[in-house]
Amino acid sequence: MNSLKKIMMVALTMLSITKIDAQIKNAKTEVVKIYGNCGMCKSKIEKAGSLKNIAQVSWDKETKMATLSYDASKTNQEEILKRIALAGYDSDVFLAPDKAYSSLDECCQYDREAKVPVKADAKTDAIGMTVVNPSSVSESQKANELQSVFESYFLLKDALIKGEGKLAAENSQKLLTAITAVKMETLSMDVHMVWMKVLNDLTADSKNISATQDIKKQREIFKSLSKNSYELIKVSKFSEPVYYEYCPMADANWLSKESVIKNPYYGSQMLSCGKVVETIK
């Protein structure tokens, strides 16, 4: 009985394979790598890539290799891989959008080997573009020493706005790295003084945030982190205006590059709660 079932299964599979072959005209076959983990990934990849009568994808979860067969007069490898990437799966041609990857189920969140990490200084560089009149150039160069600290702070804040504990922990780790990288001897006198004052707390807070993924705890610690950062940014200045904002419900402040309120203490539930209390230029 059981073997009969098996035979039927095999026959059926055979049938479906031949059927597929019959459907796709001028079929061209290629084997490419697609990053993924599990059986669920397999069905998602195959569904995203296949298109009735035009393209058929079959992915092997052991080898991570996918066999693409498609009608070369109607589509091409790029189009298929783009659809798969939009579903969350990297290949050697396309990287999935971050949102598509992060909305995959946990078991599907494969290691993104194909993705090259962002250079730490790239982001800071973007800011250097802000127009500065010649008289303030030297001042802003000094500020650059702390630039990456503030940039990491803003990344951490953005993660808290989104309510993503994992991302917040990662960004806090970056903040910690940035703090330890600061060469204090290059700081000007007044900045140096404040730096010495807040250094310990800053280090402790960023370490504690990076040690947990519990968004509630992270937000609590973020209060004092924000307060110390504020003291620092007030003397050291930033290359563009920074807004010191206040949330009455959390009774806490934060720093932002935008005057538009996006509350890191409540995220989406109370996103626009709060007001700007000071503009630091």
Partner: protein, 738 residues
């Protein structure tokens, strides 16, 4: 003394002219065949390419551009955003006569500004089929406004556009005939069955009760969207850490584009060719004909980041990959929640067709009513909530952590104030329109129905625009930049296009400083061709040497929006032929309906009406007509109508007068009196959207005639039908329409 000053001035001008560099371009305009979709189609290429070549100058140059018209039709080129003498502005029949086939026209003007601009044909619909290109004006190296870190970045001109396989004249005709073919292609029919599925039946009924057809954020379905003429392309010369300045122009004929970037924030550094203080955003919408300079950075090695332009209706997008290596994609924009948009429109629409902003004074794109349709801002569709909306509920920057650019965020790096102590002329316009009949106007008048607006040289002109229509309109002024009053005080940004969303009010002002007849119009090509614009004309200006016969020029200019559009359809059914033909323009309609049986008993009947549409919404149409019928009933049977009058259906040739009025639920009520004294009242509703492709029509009148029909739309001009008619009985058939 005065003479002496003139002479000195003259020498100065001559000297500086001599010091200038003349830069010459030759443009050969030719018919071509393109293949964007797999089907070869006609297009127009300049120097063999689409888009037209990028023209580059430096401030202070003299431009000399020779246009060689090798088409079999007229053409012209308009230099969008340029300050130039009026006769070089390139608007046919207004600033010059059209460039005739196989002739050469020379444009020449000094370049007295810098920034990102573009150029395009201003003749008929040529802009839709290839005649658009970038026009880049570099700053001089010693320019005091030169911005280190911005003006010295590597620069790439980027021009956005769209492609349709359909002949644009046909696109234009279909728009005027309220064809819903584009909606079917876009999947935005918003029919009753789709409404029921989405839990929005009541929304749909209310919408039709308020006499609205399904509304969309775009008018036309396009097959492809293009960046520099391609759906996908790559700039692989850039590497990690590089900053790139993209000079983006929207050369689309009717498409607004969302711009998003996979490598992080987009820094906006200029708009419409004028510098603005750098502002970082996650995304921006570039309206048709606007230009934005944006700076993006490549954050990682061996990676190309997607810069994506998505049409506002989100049907498709086009990608530019910046960098070399694996392609990092950006999140695609999720599909619009149309029924949420419909519900929002219902709330805003008053019964008389006016829009009601419910006390939210809206301006500068800060509140976008369409956010109710954006899942990335307002979440996935979630059925109904009856919460009263306030201004903050439409402010996308407050609703989400995505920062979207709006006009209030643009700030000029220098003061832009106008001369003081000069007279101020204030003008107000309401942007008006009517999607059902595709009439677009200012103050309910099209170009040909108005005189030129006279302005005096030296005065400041302030224009207050209010959009009372249901579509957004990018209004463009030729030959001048205006200040857009956006709360930045003396640092209001300079623009030459202002995109105004429904219900918004925006104020702009400029100093009248160059003689001429300057066009001010909506830059949606099909709105402009429908007459949405005005002409500003300087008082006491010298005549334009290129317009030798001003009367003729004006008549040809007005011909654009006076144009009639033709449509016809016929249902070939088992029980007879049923059809209509219509020839209509902004105000007039000549329509004929016929019912032709296959034998005398079923009868033959032709009714012709010539009418004029009245009012902004054009719900009222008085008409005169002629009615001819012939029928044999076998036993010479006479009938009576509902009013007890003898029916003359069997043999009738009479004139008539009457009126059509559109009732709620888009029912057309018709009262008609005939020269034989007979009176007829009729109610008819055509094309009820039952499902995506199924339409139902219903009719009843006091001659005791009635009809019910169904039509399934198979292709643009082909459908399968069934109907029941009181004269001809049940029939099945197929309908053909043009």
């Amino acid at each position: 003394m005065n003479n002496f000053r003139l002479i000195v001035l003259f020498f100065f001008v001559v000297l500086s002219v001599n010091a200038q560099k003349t830069v010459r371009y030759d443009l050969y305009v030719r018919d071509t065949i393109v293949n964007f979709t797999g089907k070869p189609k006609r297009a127009i290429a300049v120097n063999g390419q689409i888009p037209m070549p990028t023209l580059t100058f430096t401030e202070g140059d003299i431009a000399e551009i020779y246009v060689h018209n090798e088409l079999e039709e007229d053409t012209s080129l308009h230099w969008h955003g340029l300050f130039l003498p009026n006769k070089e502005d390139g608007v046919p029949n207004l600033t010059q006569m059209p460039i005739k086939p196989h002739t050469i026209h020379k444009y020449t003007f000094p370049i007295i500004q810098n920034g990102t601009h573009w150029y395009h044909s201003h003749t008929e619909l040529q802009e839709q089929i290839g005649m658009y290109g970038s026009f880049v004006l570099n700053k001089r190296a010693n320019d005091p406004t030169f911005r280190k870190g911005i003006d010295d970045l590597p620069t790439v001109p980027v021009i956005l556009s769209e492609w349709t396989d359909m002949d644009p004249n046909n696109v234009h005709r279909l728009l005027h005939n309220a064809s819903d073919w584009f909606a079917i292609q876009k999947g935005t029919t918003q029919s009753y069955s789709e409404a029921i599925k989405a839990g929005h039946f009541k929304t749909k009924v209310t919408n039709e009760w308020k006499r609205m057809n399904a509304m969309d954020v775009s008018d036309v379905y396009y097959d492809k969207f293009l960046i520099n003429g391609k759906s996908e392309s790559q700039l692989s010369q850039f590497k990690s850490g590089d900053k790139v300045r993209l000079r983006v122009s929207n050369g689309g004929a009717s498409t607004n584009f969302w711009l998003t970037y996979a490598g992080g924030k987009i820094t906006v550094v200029a708009n419409d060719g004028s510098d603005v203080e750098p502002v970082e955003v996650d995304r921006l919408l570039i309206a048709a004909s606007e230009t934005y300079d944006v700076v993006v950075i490549i954050p990682a090695d061996k990676t190309a980041y997607e810069f994506m332009a998505t049409s506002e209706d989100r049907t498709k997008s086009s990608s530019l990959y910046i960098g070399n290596g694996i392609k990092q994609l950006v999140d695609p924009l999720p599909k619009l929640k149309y029924f949420e948009g419909m519900k929002m429109m219902n709330d805003m629409m008053k019964m008389n067709g006016d829009l009601d902003d419910m006390g939210m004074s809206m301006s500068l794109n800060q509140m976008d009513m369409n956010v109710v349709m954006y899942p990335e801002i307002t979440g996935e569709a979630k059925g109904k909530s009856d919460k009263k909306m306030t201004g903050d509920d439409y402010n996308s920057n407050k609703l989400s952590d995505i920062t979207t650019l709006n006009y209030a965020m643009l700030k000029s790096p220098m003061k832009t104030t106008l001369p003081k102590d000069v007279p101020v002329k204030e003008l107000r316009f309401e942007l008006t329109g009517n999607m059902n009949r595709y009439v677009w106007s200012l103050d309910n008048k099209v170009v040909s129905e108005t005189d030129k607006i006279l302005i005096k040289k030296g005065e400041n002109v302030r224009i207050v625009l209010h959009n009372g229509s249901m579509m957004r309109h990018p209004m463009h002024l030729h030959g001048h930049d205006f200040r857009l009053l956006n709360g930045q005080g003396d640092y209001a940004p300079l623009k030459n296009v202002v995109d105004i969303m429904p219900m918004e009010t925006d104020t702009l002002e400029f100093n009248a400083n160059v003689d001429g007849d300057w066009f001010f119009h909506c830059h949606i090509l099909y709105h402009m061709m429908s007459g949405m614009g005005r002409i500003f004309s300087y008082e006491n200006q010298p005549p334009n040497p290129l317009i030798t016969n001003p009367k003729l020029a004006q008549r040809k200019l007005f011909a654009d929006d006076r144009m009639f559009h033709f449509m016809a359809e016929n249902d070939f059914a088992t029980n007879g032929n049923d059809g209509e033909a219509m020839y209509a323009n902004t105000r007039w309609s000549i329509g004929t309906e016929w019912r032709l049986g296959y034998n005398d008993m079923h009868g033959y009947e032709v009714e012709t009406h010539i009418g004029r549409y009245i009012g902004k919404m054009q719900w009222l149409m008085p008409f005169v007509g002629f009615d001819w019928r012939y029928r044999r009933m076998g036993i010479d049977e006479h009938e009576q109508n509902l009013f007890g009058q003898a029916d003359t259906k069997d043999n009738r040739a009479v004139f008539s007068a009457g009126v059509n009025y559109t009732l709620p639920l888009l029912i057309i009520a018709q009262a008609e009196i005939f020269t034989d004294g007979n009176l007829r009242l009729q109610f008819e509703r055509k094309d009820i959207p039952v499902s995506k492709r199924l339409r139902m029509s219903l009719m009843w009148n006091t001659d005791k005639e009635y009809m019910a029909g169904l039509r399934y739309i198979v292709r643009r001009n082909f459908g399968i039908t069934t109907h029941y008619d009181s004269d001809m009985g049940v029939g099945f058939g197929m309908s053909l329409n043009y």
